[in-house]
Amino acid sequence: MGNTNKIGVLVLSGIIIFLPFIFSRWEATSYYPTVMVFVAIHCIIATGLCLLLGFAGQISLGHAAFFGIGAYASGIISTKLGWSPWVGMAAGMVIASGVAYGIGVPSLRLRGHYLAMATLGFGVIVYIVFNEFVSLTGGPSGFGDIPRMSIGGLQLNTTFRFYYFAWFIAMIVLILSLNVVHSRVGRALRAIHGSELAATAQGIDVSGYKVRVFMLSAAYGAVAGSLYAHYVTFINPPPFDIFFSLKLLMMVVIGGTGSVWGAFAGAALLTFLPEWLSFLEDFDVLAYGLLLLVIVMFLPEGLIGLVGRSHALALRILGRT
C-alpha cells in the first residue's frame, strides 16, 4: 500500500468518524447515518466485486446470492439455533466461499465469460431456494427477530453504534484489499486481466487465481449479508434478487474498476442516489441508465478517475501561475 492510499484511508476514517455529528445537526439529514450503514455494507460487497471485475477481469451476475447466503446463514444460525451472530457470520463466509469454489472451478477453467453465465443461473437458483424452502427461510414473507450483534457486552442496538461497527469492518475490508492489490498477488491479477496467455507464461496459475479471488469476493459478500441481517433484524428474499446483483455491478463500473477506491465511491453514490431521486419513483431506473451511459462514454475509468483528472488539472493550473 503506497502513501497515497495510507493518506486516503486516514482521510476517509476521519470523515466517517465525524459524519454522524454533522448529519445530526439538520433535520433533513438526520436519517443519513442509517443510509451510511447501507453504504458501508455495499462498500464491502462492491470491493469484492471490484477485485473480481477490475483485477481478475471476471464478471459475477449473482453476487446478491452471496449477500443472501451470508444474511440467511447468519440469520438462521443466530435466530433458530440461538448461536452467536459471529458464528453465523463465519459460517456465512465459509458457505459462500465454498459455493464460490464449486461454481468457480468448472467455469473459470474455461476462457471467456462462463462465470457470468454460471453466476446468473446460480443467483436465480438461490433466489428460488430463499422463496421455496419455507421451513428454513420463511419463504416469501421471510423471518424477523434476528438478534443484534454485540461486541463484548456492548449491544449494537442503535444506528449510531452499528454505524461505527459496520464502517470498522468496511475499513478492514478496504485495507486488506489494498494490501492484496499492491502485492505480488495483485500484480498477478492485473497481469491476468492484461493477457491470460502471457500471464500463464510467467508461471501464473490463471484459473487458480481467478477461483481464489472469486472465493474472496463471495466471502466479502457474505460478511456484508451478515451485517445486513443483524442490522435490519428481518430478512426476506427481494433484497437478494438479480436486480441487486446488477446494481452491485453498476456500483463497481460507475465508481471505477481500476481501483478499490472506485468500489467505495460507486457504492456511496448508488446508495444515496435512490434517496435523492425518490421523486422520480419508478423512473429512477432511467436515471441509473443515463448515469451509466455517461460514465462509460465520458469517464471510462469511473468516478475515481475524476480524482486523477482534477489532480492533473490542478498541477497544470499551478504550473502556469
Binding site: R184, R187, A191, G194, S195, A201, Q202, G203
Partner: protein
C-alpha cells in the same frame, strides 16, 4: 538468496541433454504440423530453430511450453517428462518464453511487467499478502530490486516507469525478453525476437541474447533474420513441413543441400 540458487543451477546445467525432443508429432484436425521430430538441446548454448514459414517452429515452442500437447512422442526437460505438465508449471520449472506477437501487460508499467516475470521466484499467497504477514515486505522489495537489476542488464532503465503499451516497439521486444529472463530460467525460448526491428535494434538484440546465454541461460531461438541466427547460434536445427531437414553448426547448415533447397527451391540448389 533464492534467486541466486536458481541462477547457479542454471550455470551448472551445461549437461548433454537439457531438453530432449523424442519422436514428437503434432496434428491439428488431421493436418500434420510436426512429424516425428527428434533433437536435443545441450545446456549453455544458443540453439536456433529455422525453417520457412509454416514449418512448425512456433508449434514446437508451444509444445515445449505446454500450450499444446504433442499428439505423439515425448518432451523431456532434465529427464522429466513435460507432456502433461500445465504451462504455468513448466514456467516454474525454469523454461520461459517470449511471444512472436508481443504480449505485454499493457495495463502495467515496464517495471511491473518485469516484476510479474519474477512471479515464479516469489511465493506469498493471497492471505499472506492481505494481512501483510511477515516476509511479504522483504519479498516485495527484493522482487523490485531483481526486476530493476535486470531492466538495467537489458538496457531499458529509462523506460522503467512508462506504461508498457506506450514504449517504442523495439523496447517492447526487450521488455518481453526482460520479463522472461528476470527469473533466471534455465532455458529461454525466444520466438522471433527480431521481427519488426531495424538493423541497429537487431544487432543490439543479438548482443543481448549472447549476454543472456553467457549468464548461464540456455537459449532456443526461432528467427527469420539469418544474420542474427548465423552470428549468435552454436547449433542450428532446420525444419520444413514439420520434419527435421538438417542440424548442426552454422557452417554445416549453411552448406547443406537440403537446406538450400528448402530455402531457395530445387532449381537454384542444383545450379
Amino acid at each position: 538468496m533464492h534467486w541466486l540458487s536458481g541462477y547457479w543451477v542454471g550455470r551448472e546445467s551445461s549437461m548433454e541433454k537439457l531438453l530432449e525432443i523424442r519422436d514428437v508429432s503434432k496434428n491439428f484436425d488431421g493436418v500434420t504440423a510436426i512429424e516425428r521430430l527428434s533433437f536435443n538441446v545441450t545446456g549453455g548454448i544458443v540453439k536456433s530453430i529455422i525453417g520457412p514459414n509454416g514449418a512448425g517452429k512456433t508449434t514446437l515452442i508451444n509444445m515445449i511450453t505446454g500450450i499444446y500437447r504433442p499428439t505423439a512422442g515425448q518432451i523431456l526437460f532434465k529427464d522429466r517428462l513435460l507432456n502433461n505438465v500445465k504451462p504455468h508449471r513448466i514456467s516454474a520449472l525454469g523454461i520461459r518464453r517470449t511471444f512472436q506477437t508481443v504480449e505485454l501487460f499493457e495495463n502495467m508499467t515496464v517495471m511491473e511487467n518485469v516484476m510479474v516475470g519474477y512471479h515464479v521466484r516469489s511465493h506469498k499467497g493471497l492471505v499472506s499478502c492481505a494481512f501483510r504477514m511477515p516476509g511479504v515486505k522483504t519479498e516485495e522489495s527484493s522482487t523490485r530490486e531483481r526486476a530493476f537489476e535486470y531492466i538495467r542488464f537489458v538496457g531499458i532503465e529509462h523506460y522503467a516507469d512508462r506504461m508498457a503499451g506506450t514504449v517504442p516497439f523495439g523496447v517492447q521486444r526487450l521488455v518481453e525478453i526482460a520479463r522472461a529472463g528476470v527469473s533466471r530460467p534455465e532455458m529461454l525460448l525466444l520466438d522471433e525476437p527480431a521481427a519488426g526491428l531495424n538493423e541497429v535494434e537487431t544487432a543490439e538484440a543479438s548482443r543481448l541474447i549472447k549476454r543472456i546465454c553467457d549468464s548461464g541461460v540456455t537459449v532456443i531461438l526461432v528467427e527469420h533474420d539469418m544474420k542474427m541466427v548465423m552470428s549468435i547460434s552454436d547449433e542450428i536445427l532446420v525444419i520444413n513441413y514439420g520434419r527435421k531437414i538438417a542440424e548442426g553448426s552454422p557452417e554445416e547448415v549453411k552448406s547443406d543441400p537440403a537446406v538450400i533447397e528448402a530455402y531457395l527451391g530445387k532449381s537454384r540448389a542444383h545450379a
